[in-house]
Amino acid sequence: MIEVEEQQKNKIAANFENGEVTLPRKGRLVVTISKESLCSLLLFLKMDGFEHLSLISCVDWLGEGELELVYHLWSYQKKIHAMVKTRIDRESPHFLSIIPLFRHAQTYEREIYEMFGVRFEGNRRLIPFLLDNWQGAPPMRKDFDLRKYVKEKFDVEERAE
């Protein structure tokens, strides 16, 4: 029953040399690709039946000094969840916005901008989203010291570690 995923894997491998495709389990497909050819891969997948972009998430690899953007696509006919990963630089994180492909990506990009500080060129509404008048650094980054911030903002007495 794996052959649908196999076909998909071969199809991607054929068109995109530098994308390593793995099939961790049934119905799941993970592609890691360079940021230059990410948009073309997304377009290719969208044409190929992966019409639903369910989420854009971001992982902070503090050790390697990189941020990883993960685009989650879902295909209704093939019942496959494709996770397209790419790495961008951590110091000045910026990336191309995929609103032309998926209009609703604007909100996801807005959240990632607020939580991780990744600027998406082409997204006109990169304004605060969940946090209320936030002044500090993006909170979801690994180097954000949570305890210190909470102690200083809400001046809570020392809690036993």
Partner: protein
């Protein structure tokens, strides 16, 4: 309704009225609001205690802060608390308003509710059951009887303390309108 009770009622009708007709602001502040519908419907029926949900703070005298309080919601809670007429009581519902609960180290929720608005009663438990709410209501009755549920007086007298805490967390918050501003 023996003779002593009737004499008590006639002596202070205000307290009697406040006790047996606590109208709750139906304002969903956090995850605890999912406990309110069963409380007010057939199975647990809060109306036997005279507790009914009302739509606007102007009509209410009990404010139930249910669940964690994020910074954005705190602004709305303070605003709603301002708009409630005077004999008003606040009950913290769930462990998050008490000491932050499981969000004790979150950057976006407040840890101690009573630093920002005066709280008259607490119900502990990570989403306490409806029976706990009725216990809280009966406790509130005794507090009202003994004139201990005077959070709103405390708020007026020590308003600078509360305002300073609020401003530290919400710098852009406008001034409290209830402090005698005509």
């Amino acid at each position: 309704m023996d003779r002593a009770q009737i004499r008590k009622i006639l002596k202070s009708p205000g307290k009697w009225g406040q006790k047996y007709s606590l109208w709750v602001v139906y304002f969903c502040t956090g995850c605890g609001i999912i406990e309110i519908p069963p409380v007010i419907t057939s199975r647990w029926d809060a109306e036997r205690f005279g507790v009914i949900p009302v739509a606007t703070p102007r009509q209410a005298n009990l404010f139930l802060i249910t669940g964690y309080v994020s910074l954005k919601t705190l602004g709305a809670i303070i605003r709603t608390y301002d708009q409630m007429p005077d004999p008003k009581y606040v009950v913290g519902f769930g462990s998050c308003p008490i000491n932050g609960g499981m969000y004790w180290d979150s950057y976006n929720t407040i840890k101690h509710l009573d630093k920002y608005i005066p709280v008259d009663g607490w119900i502990s438990g990570c989403m306490p059951r409806p029976e706990a709410i009725f216990i809280a209501v009966t406790h509130l009755w005794t507090l009202i009887d003994k004139e201990l549920a005077n959070g709103y007086k405390r708020y007026k007298e020590e308003y600078p303390y509360y305002e300073e805490n609020q401003r530290q967390v919400l710098p852009h918050l406008p001034k409290f309108t209830g402090a005698g501003e005509t």
